[in-house]
């Protein structure tokens, strides 16, 4: 069963420095990217980094990412019930 992983980017301000969810996920479901294209001659600002569920086929619904997030920014839901 595939989950829906949602991340509130407003709450998750600097995932590149925090990265707690990336490291705790036992199956490495989450990935880090940016919500803007890269630009010449400058690094992307930290607030443009985002976390997404990129390999949701491997999500077991353990909710470790939800619990570890200091900003309470992650939600994981399975449409068939179970983890919320």
């Amino acid at each position: 069963m595939l989950p829906t992983v949602t991340v509130d980017d407003q709450k998750c301000a600097d995932p590149l420095s925090c990265r707690k969810c990336l490291l705790i996920c036992p199956t490495h479901v989450l990935g880090l990217g940016t919500d803007v294209p890269i630009k010449k001659f400058r690094e992307t600002d930290p607030e443009h980094f985002i976390v997404r569920g990129v390999r949701v086929d491997k999500c077991t619904g353990c909710l470790d990412c939800v619990k570890v997030c200091p900003q309470n920014a992650i939600q994981v839901s399975f449409s068939g019930g179970g983890a919320r």
Binding site: M1, L2, P15, L16, S17, C18, R19, L22, L23, T27, H28, L30, G31, L32, G33, T34, I38, K39, K40, F41, R42, E43, T44, R52, V54, R55, V56, D57, K58
Partner: protein, 278 residues
Amino acid sequence: MCEWCEKYGDGYERWYFNPGNYARRLYKIRKEEAEALGAEADPQAAGGMAFVGQDFLEARERGDVATVEQIKQQVEGISWITHFGQVLTLEEALKIVDIMYPIGLMTCACRRSMQGLPDEENFTCMGVGTGMYKWERWPDTYRGGVHFLTPDEAKEVLAKLNKRGLVHTVFTFGTPYLAGLCNCDYPDCAAIRTVVDLGIRVLWKGHYVARIDPELCNGCASCVHRCQFRALSFSPSKNKAIIDQFQCFGCGLCATECDQDAITLVERANLPALANVW
């Protein structure tokens, strides 16, 4: 025979031994072809978030084999024109270091994406060719900067990374232009992960297959953790390591770890059932 060697070998034993494939001119030609097909051919975008389309995962989930196959072929088709890799042995990696220039040690985009790994811990990737001179123009692609290496320095780095258990791979950026010599592991390498978990061949197996000599294997199992492709396991009843040769990518990491010299690499081409298993 490896179709890339056939198409781009130009008389060399392997396509990645052909110095012409490290020339930017070819990259330009192929990029136009890729763009004509509607592919995102911008090498700056490579690495990315290792996204796999939700449509693919959903089709897989509901057992829709036809859709899975269709998306897989589509993704592979674009990947093989723009950006894909092949596994190398350490010996092969050491050899190509002498034919590519310049060599820049840089941070791994995949590990940044999957672990948020800080730049200072992440110098495991080698960018090669004239593209490396663009590092100042694209600080986000080359986060952490670039350390240019002599061939001898590059060989030292490769040996160290092999010791650490990383798989050497060569990657195209606009096929057949080869511009990346990566050192990868599961699950953070997007290519290894995509091919192992989902069967989408953005990474091709190498030209070798590992073979265990049961007479020499003493059952120490020190090789088992080296395999990043789920090809190597340990048989308690035999008290030996065993290799699934159909799953083996031929990286040779198990062989370099074995102090009994019980593991050798044999040519894929010499095994009829494996000669076309890439």
